[in-house]
Symmetry: C2
Subunit: 175 residues, 2 copies
């Protein structure tokens, strides 16, 4: 075999091997969830947070579970939620209604709709009641909102709850 041709084959094989390894590495990594249009990033490990409450909405047929980070859960359990302390994060996980196959009067979580968050920082988010809002849609976790102004929609909807620090959630009572 001609020397130049041999070098060419080795180079080609090397490129293929390296590319395969690189693609493997990239695919093994969890794809990063894009930030919300207002710069808020999705809170780490929110699925492991503790329970604050649960709701069922018949206007849009969704089941919801509200989890909180440690600061929020401590505030909820000690009744210190007016105002919620800075650093509190409330996570609301939302699913479309489905009927239980064996118990038709039981509504269970079907398709995952979105995860939405309220992050308390009285100073940073003073313009929206002290809360930073963000939402990620569906299993693909697509950030909600065309631009940073989407928070006006959140804030307007939460304004009737001003006397509850803009929060709809009432922590569920437990023994």
């Amino acid at each position: 075999m001609h020397m130049k041709k041999k070098h060419g084959v080795i180079l080609t094989v090397l490129i293929i091997l390296l590319s395969t390894a690189l693609i493997g590495l990239v695919m093994a990594q969890k794809p990063e969830v894009p930030s919300a249009p207002n710069g808020i990033t999705i809170p780490d490990g929110y699925k492991n947070w503790r329970l604050i409450s649960s709701t069922h909405r018949t206007d849009n047929n969704t089941l919801r579970v509200i989890l909180g980070n440690d600061i929020a859960v401590q505030a909820a359990r000690s009744g210190s939620t007016y105002p919620w302390p800075d650093g509190s994060i409330l996570a609301k996980l939302v699913w479309k209604d489905t009927a239980h196959e064996q118990w038709p009067t039981a509504t269970i979580p079907g398709t995952f709709v979105h995860a939405e968050f309220m992050i308390k920082d009285a100073k940073k988010y003073a313009a929206t009641g002290g809360w930073g809002f963000a939402r990620w849609l569906g299993m693909e976790q697509k950030p909600y909102g065309k631009d940073a102004d989407f928070v006006q929609e959140c804030y307007n909807c939460h304004t009737p709850m001003k006397r509850n620090d803009y929060v709809f959630t009432h922590p569920a009572i437990t023994p």
Copy 2:
């Protein structure tokens, strides 16, 4: 003051002081939750467990959240729930429906009804599908059942779910 009378006064004061201290001590301790009639004790710290699912039942107007211990949550998230591994504990927290004061089409948790548990041990609980059942009623956490036979009621109700390892709960899907 007569000597005998003085002793009597001192004794009375001492008794009052000691009783007050004793009552204080007893009240400071958390009252222990009695075991279920089948000997199952209420799992420690179940309120801090992670989320598995949530349901709303319109036949008895209750909202329910299902939490799991680490073994159960790992099984749920990896889809290894047929059968659930030994050591899995499912906790179901149940509240009476209440309407949200500002959002009438939202049902929120009202009065706490009970916490009920399924504890997986295929050998120990072979007679009831491999699950130990227990329930504690209300805020006072009164054990459910007159005697150990109460589990027959649980088991009978769960039998239609035999093909799902006797479990009604379907873990909620999340990203």
